[in-house]
Amino acid sequence: MARHKLIEELHAAWYDALWATGEGADDKRKAHLILRDEACRLFDCSPSELQQALRGDFSKWCREKALPKPPQS
């Protein structure tokens, strides 16, 4: 099943927040927090609940995209 654009965006933003390094990484973390809060308002849930609800699909999304192992430095 195709994912809704918002869920795709949430997954991509979470991936960046977790694994972005170097210049711009901190901005990506802040961008994820903003997008996540918007989604929480839409789904009427807390950030913690949203993170838990998305976990399984996020891991599946990572595998589907064949995303590389995050760098250590």
Partner: protein, 148 residues
């Protein structure tokens, strides 16, 4: 009565926190900003190593009960150390000097917020029914995506 209780709680709270403050002072005897920023940089490296282990053990594979325990222990430790460092850095003042050394309080807070979200993601304690109802809403959105 309520006032008395509040005072008592405040007293307990203060003494409870005192040992933490002493711990921070012991760990970081040097007040030099360079030292604090170096510790912060080391913490960030530790976070990256943790993320790599998480990716391999928790996302690419099906994590077992032991993986969950180690993940929670490591993540809790990283959050705790990060909080200590931020508190100490905030107390040390001189934001200009810290900024010159490449440290941003706002970015540091965002890094910690991401770790807390990470903790919620794997170890949050919301009821399964509540999580299922949110997942249902997400599925409905996905259904809309397929229909268009």
């Amino acid at each position: 009565m309520e006032e008395q209780m509040t005072m008592r709680l405040e007293g307990v709270s203060a003494s409870e926190w005192d040992w933490v403050r002493r711990l921070i002072a012991d760990v970081q005897e040097q007040e030099r900003h360079e030292h604090l920023v170096a510790l912060w940089a080391q913490w960030r490296i530790a976070v990256r190593f943790f993320r790599q282990a998480e990716f391999i053990l928790m996302r690419q594979k099906q994590p077992g009960a032991v993986d969950f325990k180690f993940h929670r222990a490591c993540l809790t430790g990283l959050i705790s150390i990060g909080e200590f460092l931020l508190l100490h850095i905030a107390e040390s003042g001189d934001r200009e000097e810290l900024s010159r050394l490449g440290f941003s309080g706002e970015n540091a807070e965002a890094a910690l917020a991401t770790l807390r979200s990470n903790w919620d993601e794997w170890h949050g304690e919301s009821s399964p029914d509540r999580i299922r109802s949110i997942q249902q809403k997400l599925l409905e959105l996905n259904g809309e995506a397929q229909a268009h």
